[in-house]
Structures are given as structure tokens and as C-alpha cells.
Amino acid sequence: MGSVQSRRWFLVPGVIFLLVIDMVPLVYSLGVSLYEWWLVRPRDVRFIGLGNYSALVLDPAFRRSVLVTCILTFGAVVVEFLAGLALALLFAQPFRFLRPMRAVIMMPLFVVPVVGATMWRLILHPELGVLGYYLSLLGFGNPQWLSDPTLAMIALILVDAWRTIPFMFLVIHAGLETLPAELYEAARVDGASWLQAFRYITVPLLAYIMLVAVLIRGMDIFREFDIIFVLTGGGPGTATETIQLLNYRVFGLGHMGQANAIGVITLILVALMCYLLIRAVLRTR
């Protein structure tokens, strides 16, 4: 009789599809990254070994993009984590009116990312923007959100935060729901303050799930493209040009070898980041 074990064959089509669709481009990309190849000069393709990689390492634009990506990743993850945690703690309060609000808080998660960024571009617009108008009424002047290098980075972080705080919130919220109420009860009986209960019960028990949320978010913002492309396009100048945006620009120039080399380096950086974070996660267990 077709034993249960024979069902392993069910996973063959899906797994093969996934590996082929992801691995073939990657292997191809690895190959192309070893060539000097401009799309406009198809006859002049030369093998240059690691030439593209060494050129990138020495290229100030590339180094800068790595730095910009790291700043954006760090800034966004910190803001999103703190806001998500605060919201989750707020929603842990035992009030019935909070329940329907959860669906509202979740909404930005489902907005088409490009559309979300478009909305924000209108809100942050120097002349038309509603935010600038009220800030100037309050005496903050009219910040040039998207044309000042620092403000453009802050704007990116805020817009990304708008879209993904709900994610942080939901993951931490789900984690909080699993914590046994008796622990807090006992802590209160023993005279622990709210802050002590948070520090000695919530934080240690939720460390794992918080790190998972940070890991996923960190990976996603590190490879973000859509909202940066729509909101700043990497500008002003190259102030917000992340690795992904630089890759897009090099690809647009038709410099195929180098574009693929950037892709490979990004992959290595993401893998490295994941490895370090996963190791940190496992250590807390």
C-alpha cells in the first residue's frame, strides 16, 4: 500500500521549481560577474576574473552605498522596533475598545508599497505638502524633506516605519499574548513595579521573538528598493543611494558584469547579517 513515506515525492515539483528559478539566475549571475560586459558592446565581452569585485571595493560610490544601506537599516529597525514594542505594550492593556483598533493599525501593511511611498511624497512635498505647512505654522520652518541629505534619510526611515511598524507590533503582540498572566500576578504580589515586571519577565521571555522580528525586518529593509526608488530615487545626489539603488543605476548603464558583481556582494552581506543575527538569536535561547 502506498505508504505515507511515499508522499515525499509530492514535494519534488515545488522544490525543483524553486531551486531552479532561484539558483539558475544566481549561478548565471556569478558567471557574468567575472566578465567585463557592457550591454551596448555585445561583441566586446572579456573575462576579467575578480576585476569587477576589486573595482567595486575601491569605488567610493559603492562604499558609500554600503554605508548608506547600513545607516538606513539600523535607523529603520531601531525606530520600528521601539514603536512596535510600545504599541504592543499599549495593546496588552485589558480594554475592549482596543480589539477593533488592531485591524486599523494593521492597514499600512497591506498598502501597495509603491502607492504608500507616493502618498508620502505628496505629504512631504516642499510646496504642496500638508506636513510642511503645519510645521512652518508651528515655527519649524518648512523642512526640505526630500532635498536635504539628512532629512531625506529621516523621511525614508519614517515612511518605511509607517509601513512596517504594524509588522513589528503584530509579532511582539502575538508573543505577549502567549505569556502566562500568573507570572505578572506573582510579581505584583511580591511588590514588583510595572517597570521591574517588564525588565525581568517580559524582556527575557520575549527576547527570542523580538530578535526574530528584528531579523526579518533587517533583511527586508537591507534589500528595500520600491519605496526608496519612488520617494528619493537615491537622491538628493547620492545621499540615499543604497546598494540596491546603485545596482539599479549600474544595471541601467548596461554595465552587466559590475551589476551582477554588486548583486553577489549584496547576497554575501545579507547572508552574513543573517548568520550573525541567527547566532545571536540562538544564544539567547
Partner: protein, 271 residues
């Protein structure tokens, strides 16, 4: 208790304003004339017009783009559901050497930066003449949607008791029949969630659509980002198009919210 309630409400208010204001502003922007859109001070009360919607619907081939988006999203949903269901069922019911590692590898494919994939993908599609086709985008999107579908569905299939299946086998049902007639009906909610997420992956995707699509297969996010003239973005039209593209997503949020937490904690929604 009463003070705590008030404090909670006070804390919630800025969070709600922050979440809803951009949505509210784009909704009103879609009903504003250019004049009231650009008015200073910003207009909170205005007489709504439908011009922006009319222009989007009739001045550009909106329905063509809508058809593209819908067909590609449908293809992605069906493809990732068929392949994902089979794979998840296989993973859920069997253990073999390396099956744990294989599961993890599937999750890892989700970590590959899209930009890293899109460059070789473009070159390969160029070579085999599949640039600007539905199939090219659908294949890419299925691979984006599948890791999540597989992980979500494994969880749902694990909950289906094996005895139910054994009973079906004894009654002469073959493995495919068992999956179709016994397991899938029980795990139906999971399949519905996986389907909706797969739809959204395709519906929302921008980078691949931007690079791989052309006149024949352009999808709505690319169209919205491209609603600009030499004088700058057409904010009124953009807002109207954005609202229309967002409608299915908002509906799905309301339907989905119960399942979202489960899905998210399994890791990784937006790819």
C-alpha cells in the same frame, strides 16, 4: 482603572492618527481639483470631483493594465498554490535525510535580494525571448510567493490527523485522492490565506514588473509610479489610481486579520 483607560486611549490616539492620516489624505486628494490640491492652507473642506478617476480610467489604458495585473496575480496564485500545496503536504507527512535542511533552504531562497535576481533574470529572459510576457513575471512571482505558502501550509497540514488519511487509504483512495478529498477540505482556511498572500505578492510587486514588463505586460504599481509629466507627478491622478489599486488590499485586510498573526509569526510576509 479609569485613569489607565484614559492613558491608554491617549497613547492610542497618535498611533491611529499616524496610521490613518496618509490614507485619509490620499483619499481626499483623489477627489480634489488641482487647485484645491495645491491650496495653501491645505483644504480640509472642499467640493469633491470625479475628474481624477475619469482621467485615469479613460485617458490611459487603465483597463488593459488592470487586466495585466489581474491575470498575472491569478496565475501566481494558482501556480504557487498547486506547487506549494504538494510540497507542503510532502514536507508535513514525511521525514527523510536532509528534509529539515531542505525546509530551511526554502526559507533561505526568500532572503535573496530581488535586485540580485532581477539582473540575471533579465539577461536570461532576454536570451529566451520572454521579456515583457505574462509567463516571465508569473514564474518569478510564484518563486516569491512559494516559500511563505509552503511554510504556512506545513503548519495547517500538520494539524490534519493522520488517522483520517489512513481511513481514506483503507477505503481505496489513492494518495492524490486523499489529498484532494480529505486533507485539503480540512486545511481549507490555510489554503485561502496562502492564496490571498500569493495574490498580494504579485499585486504589490514593483521591481520585477518595472524591469521585465513593457507595453504588453505592465502592471498597476509601475503605472502609478509612472504617472508623471515633464511638469512633475500628476498627484490627483496618482491618488485616484492608488485608491483603486488599494481596494482589494483593504478588503483582504479586513477578511484576513485573524490569520495574519499566525502567518507573520511563521515568518515573512512581504517579500
Amino acid at each position: 482603572m479609569q485613569t489607565r483607560k484614559i492613558l491608554t486611549a491617549l497613547g492610542l490616539t497618535p498611533a491611529l492618527l499616524w496610521t490613518l492620516f496618509p490614507l485619509y489624505w490620499i483619499l481626499t486628494a483623489s477627489f480634489k481639483t488641482e487647485l484645491s490640491l495645491y491650496a495653501r492652507p491645505p483644504q480640509w473642506i472642499f467640493s469633491p470631483i470625479l475628474e481624477n478617476y475619469k482621467r485615469v480610467l479613460f485617458n490611459i489604458p487603465f483597463f488593459q493594465y488592470l487586466t495585466n495585473s489581474l491575470l498575472i496575480a491569478t496565475g501566481t496564485t494558482v501556480g504557487s498554490l498547486v506547487l506549494g500545496t504538494l510540497a507542503a503536504y510532502g514536507f508535513s507527512r514525511t521525514r527523510f535525510w536532509g528534509s529539515g535542511a531542505l525546509r530551511f533552504l526554502i526559507l533561505v531562497t526568500r532572503m535573496v535580494p530581488r535586485m540580485t535576481l532581477v539582473v540575471p533574470y533579465y539577461l536570461i529572459m532576454l536570451k529566451i525571448g520572454m521579456l515583457d510576457t505574462y509567463t516571465g513575471l508569473i514564474i518569478a512571482y510564484i518563486s516569491f510567493a512559494m516559500p511563505f505558502s509552503i511554510w504556512l501550509l506545513i503548519g495547517f497540514f500538520d494539524d490534519v490527523p493522520i488517522e483520517v488519511e489512513e481511513a481514506a487509504l483503507v477505503d481505496g483512495c489513492n494518495p492524490i485522492g486523499t489529498l484532494l478529498r480529505v486533507v485539503i477540505p480540512i486545511a481549507a482556511p490555510g489554503l485561502a490565506v496562502a492564496a490571498i498572500f500569493a495574490f498580494l505578492v504579485s499585486w504589490n510587486e514593483f521591481l520585477f514588473a518595472l524591469i521585465l514588463s513593457g507595453v504588453h505586460s505592465k502592471t498597476l504599481p509601475v503605472v502609478i509610479a509612472g504617472l508623471t509629466t515633464d511638469l512633475g507627478p500628476l498627484y490627483g491622478e496618482m491618488s485616484a489610481a492608488a485608491i483603486m489599486v488599494m481596494l482589494p488590499n483593504v478588503l483582504m485586510t479586513l477578511v484576513l486579520q485573524r490569520y495574519v498573526v499566525k502567518g507573520l509569526t511563521l515568518g515573512a510576509v512581504k517579500g
